[in-house]
Structures are given as structure tokens and as C-alpha cells.
Symmetry: C2
Amino acid sequence: MDIRSLSSSHHHSQSERYIHKVGVPPKQNLFKEFRETLKETFFADDPLRPFKDRSRSQKFILGIQTIFPIFEWGRKYNLKKLRGDLIAGLTIASLCIPQANSSFVPPLIYAFMGSSRDIAIGPVAVVSLLLGTMLQNELDPINEKAQYQRLAFTATFFAGITQVTLGFFRLGFLIDFLSHAAIVGFMGGAAVTIALQQLKGFLGIKKFTKKSDIISVMHSVVASWNWQTIAIGASFLSFLLFAKFIKNKKFFWVPAIAPLISVILSTFFVYITRADKQGVQIVKNIKKGINPSSVNEIYFSGDYLLKGFRIGVVAGMIGLTEAIAIGRTFAAMKDYQLDGNKEMVALGAMNVVGSMTSCYVATGSFSRSAVNFMAGCETAVSNIIMSCVVFLTLEFITPLFKYTPNAILASIIINAVIGLIDIGAATLLWKIDKFDFVACMGAFFGVVFSSVEIGLLIAVSISFAKILLQVTRPRTAILGKVPRTTVYRNIQQYPEATKVPGVLIVRVDSAIYFSNSNYVKERILRWLEDEEEEVKAATYQPRIQFLIVEMSPVTDIDTSGIHALEGLHRSLEKREVQLILANPGPVVMDKLHASSFTSLIGEDNIFLTVADAVSSCAPKLVEEQP
Amino acid sequence: MDIRSLSSSHHHSQSERYIHKVGVPPKQNLFKEFRETLKETFFADDPLRPFKDRSRSQKFILGIQTIFPIFEWGRKYNLKKLRGDLIAGLTIASLCIPQANSSFVPPLIYAFMGSSRDIAIGPVAVVSLLLGTMLQNELDPINEKAQYQRLAFTATFFAGITQVTLGFFRLGFLIDFLSHAAIVGFMGGAAVTIALQQLKGFLGIKKFTKKSDIISVMHSVVASWNWQTIAIGASFLSFLLFAKFIKNKKFFWVPAIAPLISVILSTFFVYITRADKQGVQIVKNIKKGINPSSVNEIYFSGDYLLKGFRIGVVAGMIGLTEAIAIGRTFAAMKDYQLDGNKEMVALGAMNVVGSMTSCYVATGSFSRSAVNFMAGCETAVSNIIMSCVVFLTLEFITPLFKYTPNAILASIIINAVIGLIDIGAATLLWKIDKFDFVACMGAFFGVVFSSVEIGLLIAVSISFAKILLQVTRPRTAILGKVPRTTVYRNIQQYPEATKVPGVLIVRVDSAIYFSNSNYVKERILRWLEDEEEEVKAATYQPRIQFLIVEMSPVTDIDTSGIHALEGLHRSLEKREVQLILANPGPVVMDKLHASSFTSLIGEDNIFLTVADAVSSCAPKLVEEQP
């Protein structure tokens, strides 16, 4: 290497800047490399870090605390915190009484296993109603009530299993594949579907389609309505919507408890007017007492097993995305780290247990978590309190809700899901990234016109198509010298940057892989041709003698890529143009060496920076001038 | 912007270097952007360039010349070129007489439409024998000869259609998705499969499996052999293998015509000894005369249509990859550009016509093209000459080959395919890129143990998995200042590079997308934590106050990515660490503006280079020192 550095520094005798040679990273053995990749892929968050150099007993305790974080923060728990949690717990409890059933067991489990301090666990509009829509494609909730419930529990069970599995096998990163854009579109679509489903209760229609797509729903909406139902529903819906507009910080709880209020009011109203006699449908038979066991109601055989599994996987994934997203948000606000994979295990375990105590899929609810957070919760204890309150409700108060009109629940749900149609986010997507917007719309229309699964599928595939496109047709840029600096930048971005006569500087903006290697090669050659034409046109311009490829963004290269570079080198030789590489990264440098490409173009044609490369060309250029 | 540059330049009062502000590329309208992307994706090679500002008649002539390049180079054709082509033509003709049937029509067509000057067209070991293997999975070539042939023509037809379609719709880049690694493995696998198939003829076995996977073949190999057959086959195979080893440039044609020699010799030998009486199988009924029309033999209905289609697509793709690869290689040697898509149309048309004149899939043969090239061919005329010679052969000489023993054809084929097992290339793959090697092996074993399609599928999916992994878990690096320069590089690659006290410089080596945004965020925070621990351990070290993210390799960002950056910014604020961006590219800068992230972290916290960023931190740091 000594000779090499000499020879190169010799080139720039007149440029007094010291030319530093490009480093080749220390060769590490295969196994180590492999382990590194594995670690970064599955254990990016290095979960075993705290276990390092501890005694066995400590390790055991740590292990327990990792599975049940409550034993960790529980020891630091105090009255002050309890106060916060109590208020928060009561507040969120008031919100979930209408859908109480699934708000008793899951929060308890989560409180012990979960690591987020702010999530409020319970059935969530999107997930549980999504679940409903998918179930109704299989069974009729009225006539086939029994199987319907059993299928629901089965789905919940598998949702839990999915979550635990994902978490346990460190596949947490899979949910990152649901891009923000996809989620926005998906939520919107789900909201519309769900709202439409609720028209049944809202308009007091007797027989309603089981399908979830907009067409068939619209068909069944054109049916005999019940005006009393509509009157009640409409009035309370408007009340709820009005409550939403109270942006006052002091009254943040108004929209929060509005649902409860309207339930109580409407129930009372129906009770005294006996409106149910006028065909206003009411909840009627409501299960009293806490959740009975439902272990042996889960389908472990038959084709409902499969259906339940399919539905469960989807519901589980969606549940996860929401919970993790919420967890991350609040963790960022209070600045504590959240282990996604651990969260998943907790959520999964909670749903598995839930499915055995007749609960539907539960997850972190954004609205309630927000309330929980603003009510000043400190730890997951608020969840425990909530579940206790719910328990008492189930025991003693629930029967009173017998007279609650379905229209109210419908309007509560509609009111809840309307908030999910986030037009602001969509427009922002359009402004920032057209491709994201397309993915978003794909998800939206997929869900609205076809089904949840299709919507997700569309969104995900569009998102991936984008990545692949970017890797197949990477951007390339001509660089120029930014005046009064030694940096070379894209002349499109910096119009003031000036080209170096006789030298063409190209930057490739992607790893060079089989999918783009040929394109990159031919694109560079095309740049060269264009440049040569320009030069011909201009007078007193030396012909292009050096092609500098800025490799900084080239994060990786594979054999096809190297072959492409070799091809490039060959055709450049034909045109008497010298190929020069600037700042190849460690991985690339490593592979260029392994394939002995470095010796092909000459060690001293690889430079640390474009500036070095240029200053090495300059003298040679001069000689060749006429 | 003026204020911004002022304020920033003020920061570096003591560093006299002029701080250049990061450029925002001129906003271009949506349609233009869209058109650009489309062009780069499908018309990267700008095929209409020559048509610019020409008269209509000129355009017409150009159009003809584009479809039939022969009218372009034909006009410059001369005797000198003819001499080269004549010799080359005769040479390659001698090679393909054993498999003459498909070497008559296709070369003619190609000569008119193709744009490569060196490719020698004809049936190729891999493709045609691959075709055979796939056909034999459907039909028995002996007992169901008629359907077998019809299916073969059908496959050929659809192979042609596939190629034309790909070319016409500018989908040429799709074949780039077959990575070099995949092809190496695939070829090797195909070679093994094909060689095994030939054992039938080579060992003179009567009944043989129709399956192509190694297990079932091995079963049928354990059968009654015919020693005379083996004797003949073995002797000539060894002759062929020996001929291979003549590396002498002067005798390059020896291995080339060895097949022909052995055919003639063996035929003569069998004719005089009447070895066929001793159960040495011979070709027997050979079609005399030129190819009859086979238009109405192609299946355009029934389930053979589908099978033919499936086989055709695969064979067509493989044919393309080989032809294009060869074309590119020789084009690079003689330094002329090759339009992949145009090539495809030519190859496709040639196969469509071929399928109607009882030819099997033909494509560019590497071995023969090499001979063609070394025999000094000038243009595609050598193909015309070859096809004429073949024509004469078919007319008059073929009948003599009635006595050619199958064993010879088998050994010729075996000899041909053995060359395809490129262990050197495989080892190189291992040396350069482990992942490529895995893809290669996947293809190889997929083909050997299961089927061609499976092999391809495995290879392609591994290759893509690699890309996705790279995009899901991008590399990140800590940068340090390279001594005696103002450049900051990966401290792993440049151990001499030194960190800047109080400043952490991280480089993200990939576009930031939904699939990696969370990982990138958390990874950076982990770098920070590690660094802070180090600082705590060390004495007289200022705490980390600035986090500089080097964005050069970040070629693109989507909304999820921007959200991640916002999240990063928030949690850094909590730790009182200032987030600074260095050298974001045009696209990224554009989106950061659109999402007003720039104003969130402050315009003057975005710098052109890491050096600028550091020099802006330095003074602030000093103030905060105790």
C-alpha cells in the first residue's frame, strides 16, 4: 500500500493537500459477520444487555421483571402516583362501560406484563368493529349468535397467538411494513365501512346485508326505516359531534364522557317512554355478571378454525400496529423506550387469556390512552383501577342498560370512527410523497369497495413496489464544484456549482444490485455521451478524459454490480476515459478488493473524496492540452 | 434565506470558512416529475432520440431501420466484411449440424431484425434441453411423439410471444431481476439435470423416467445397460473432453468442430459395423428436407395450450437472459450499444416464425457466438451464411446421419453442458457476497432436486429478500474526522479518524422508508446512549450536545421516515441534544420542506457538509464548558 499512496501523492505534487488513501475495513470472519446481521435484524434493541455480568439469582429476578415489568416499577410505586392513576382509571372506566365486556380481564393482564405506562387497554373501535365486519361475512350475529360468538373467541384467540408469536420470534419489525400512508388509508376505509355497518342500528333496519363492501350495504340501506330510532340516534349523534368541538383544555373530559352521558340519558328516556314498543330496537338480553369462561367455546377443529385463524391474524396485526403506534407516541412524550417485541408478547398473552374469558380482541385505544395521559396517569395501575370499576359495573349496574337503544351505540360508534377519517394526513401525504398518497388511496378504496384484507394487500404491495422501483431505477446526478468550497454537489440542487473541464463527475444514489446494475452502467455511459456532445459544441473545451463516480451513497454492491462496473471500465477504456472511484464505503471497498476490481482500475484511481480525485486529474489534464 | 445564512455564518465567526447553504431543488410540476419517472423506468435508453427533428420521410426510413437494422448496416457492407462473415459463418455452421433443424429459419430472421453483430443464433444446450426436460414432464417423447412435438412448437410460439411482449412494452429490465448469482446456480443445476437426462441415450437404457429431478432419474439409471453403446459414448465423450483442453489460440476451432467430427466418425463406424444390430440405438428416422410448416400444429386450445404457455414463458425468459447477456458481452468488447428491448423483439419474432416452421426455441449460443467472434465475423451476415449451409445440409446430407448413434448425441450434449457448471464463478460469489452465493445454491439445488421453475423461484425470491433486508435494516456508522483533512468518515473503515468531543456524527446508509424508519430512529438513539456511557466513563469529556446525521446516502425519504425524524428530534430535545442534518439530497430536502420539518429543527441546523456542521457546533460547545 505504501507504493500506492506514494504514487498517488506524487500525482498531486502541485496540489499541496495531503491525499489520504481509502481504508479497507479490517476483515472480520464469516461467523461474526453473520451473527452481526442476525442481531441487527432480530435483536436490534439488544434485549439481553441488562443481563450482562450478573449473578444467576440477579438474572432470575431480572428475567421475572422482564416478563412482568410490574415487579420492576411496582417497587417504586407510591401514593402520589396512585392518586394520578386513580383519577385516570376512573375517567377511562367511564368511557368503556358501553363496551364493558372486554374491558375487565385484558387490562389486568396487561398491567402485569405491559411496559407502556400510558396505554389504556380495551376494545377499540377499529379493531373490534373490523372484527365484527369480518365475522359477519362468515356468520349472522342474530340468527347464528352461538357460532358467531364462538368464532369471535376463536379469532381473538388466534389474534393473541399471532401477537405472541410475532413478539417471541422478534418479528416485531414486520409491522413496520405497514407504512404510515397505508395505515392512514386503511383507517379511513375501515371507518367508512364500520359507519355504514352501523346504519343498521342507526336507521332501525330489520334485515341487513352481511357483506361489508359499500355497494351491498347501500342496497340494504334502501329499506324500511324506523323514524323514532332515527330521531333518537340523530339527536344524540349531534350531541356527541358537538361535544367533539370542545377544544378547551379545561373541559377535555367532556367529549371523553359524552358517550357515557348519552347512554345513560337515552336508556332512561327509552325506559320511561317504553319507546321499544314503537319498534326502537334495544340491547335487551345483556349478560349479567363477570365474563364466564369460554375456553371450550373456541373452535380447535372444523373449517371455522381456519376462518377464525384468518380473521384473527388480520385483527391481531391491526391491533398490534395501533397499540405499538400509541405506545411509541406516548413513550416519546415521556421519553422512555418501549420494547416493541415485549409489548407484543404482553398484548398477545392478554388476548389469549381474554379469548378464554369471553372477551373480544382488545388493544390500546388511542382516544382513551390520550384521556388516560391527560388525566395524569403514572403507571399501568390506572388500567387495574379501570378494570375493577368495570367489574363492579358488570356485577351491579349492567342490567340497567337493558333498555339502551341500539341507535345510541350506533351513533357512539359512528361518532368514534368518523374521527379516523384523517383528511389532513391524506393531503399531507399528497404534498410530501405522491407514491405514499397512492398507497393510502389504494388501502382506502380497497377496504371500502372490497374487503379489509384486499385493502391491506394493495397498500403493502404498492409500498413495496415503490422500494423496488427505487432500487431498480436509482437516481444518478452530475456533480459540480460548489464555489469557494472543496465540496462537489448535484448541479441540479446547486445551480451555482460548476463542472470541472475534462472531468465528468457522476453520483449513483443507491446500492448497486443485479436489479439496477445494467441500468446504472448504461445511464452513466449516457451521461458521458451527453457531456461529450456538449463539449463538442463548446469551443476551447478539453474532451472528457476522466469519469469520477462518487460512491458515497452506494451502500452495497453485489456480483452483478461488480460485473457492471467492469463493463463500464471496459467501454471507458475504449473511449480513452479513465474511470475513477471516490469514497467507496467499507462494504463496497471490501467486495471490490475480493473481486480484485481495485487492481483492475488501479489502487491509485480510488480516492477518499471527489476533491482529491479531481486534484489528481488536473495535472494529467494539463499535459494533454494542445 | 438571507437571515438564515447570516445567522449560520455568524456561528462560525472564528472558522473563516464560508458556510454554503443547502440548496432546495427548483420545484417541478407533478406531471413533469411523473413523466420523468416513467421515462427512466421504461425508456431509460431514450429510443426516440434519433427521431428528433427529422422530416417525415426520414422518420419513415429511420423507423424501418430501427425494426430491420440490416437496412442500416447493410448499406455500409463490403467485400472485406463478407470475407470475415463467410469464414465465421462456415465455422459456426459446422457446429450446429447435429441439431440442424432449428438452425435454418431463426438465424435468417435474426439477421434482419437483430442489432448484435456477433451473436450466433441457433438451438442452445441449456434452453432447448431445458425445454426438453419440461416437455418430458408432460408427455413421453417416444410414445406420444406427435403431441410432444406439437407441445414443443406451442411452447416455442409462446416463448416468442413472451419475448416480443417484454420487448415491446419496454419491460426489458425485468430480466435484470435474474441476478448473475441466480443464473450461475441455475445454469449449473440445469446442466446436471440435462446431463442426467442424457444417461438414457448414453447408457442405452430402454425405458426411462419422464421426471427431471435427480431422485427419480437415479432410480431409472439402475437398469439394463448396453455395453457397446457405453463403449462408443465413452470413447467419444473422452475425445470431446480432450478437445476442450486445447487452449491454443491457433487451434481454437478444434473444440469447436470436434462435435461434427465425432458425429461423422461414429456414424461411419456404426454404418460399417452395423452396431445397431447389437442394440446400439441410432437416430433412425430423420426428417429429410427443410422445415415443413407447423402453423396448424400449435395448440391454440385445450389444456396443452396452458402447459405450452407455461413452458414457453420460462424457456423464453431463459433464452432472453442468455441472448442478452451474450449480446452485451460482445457489444462491450467491440464497444457498440445494444438496445435490450429491440433485441427481445427480434429474438421473439424469430421464435414466433420458428414455431411455425417446426423449429424449437432458438437463442444466442455463447460457445458458437464466441467461435463466430474469434473467426472474425463482421455482421449478422455470418448468420445468413450459416443458415444457408444448414439448408444445404438438410437438403442433401442429413439422410446420411440416419446411422448416428444416440450415444454420440448424448455425449455431445453432456460435453456441452458440463461446461455450464461454473465452479469458479460460484467460489467467486462466495468470496464476494455470501448472500449471492446462497441465492446461487438455492437456484442450483432447486433445479436439481425439484424443477426448473422452483429453482428460478427460489433464486429470485432470495435475491429480493436481500434487497428488502438491506432496506429494512440499513447500516449506520459513526463518523470521525480523518486527520489533516476536513472529511468525516466511518471510524470502522478509517481507524485513524477521531471523534469530535461533545458531538456525535452518525451516517445512515439507505433511503429512510416505512420499512426502516423506526429502526433507524432507535438505532441512532442507541448510538447516542452508547456514546454517552463512554463519555461518562472518560474524564474531562463534554457531554454529547449535538447529534449530526450525515444524510448523503439517504437518497429518499417517505412520510414514515419524516415522522421518525420528528420522533428523533423530540426525544433529542428531552436529552437537550441538538439534531443537525448534513447534506440532505434534493429529493429529501424537497420533502423536508414540504413537511416543514426544516422549520421544526431550524433552517440553520441543516448544513452542506459535516465539516460545516461541526465548525458551527464548536463555538457553542465551548460556551457550555465548566
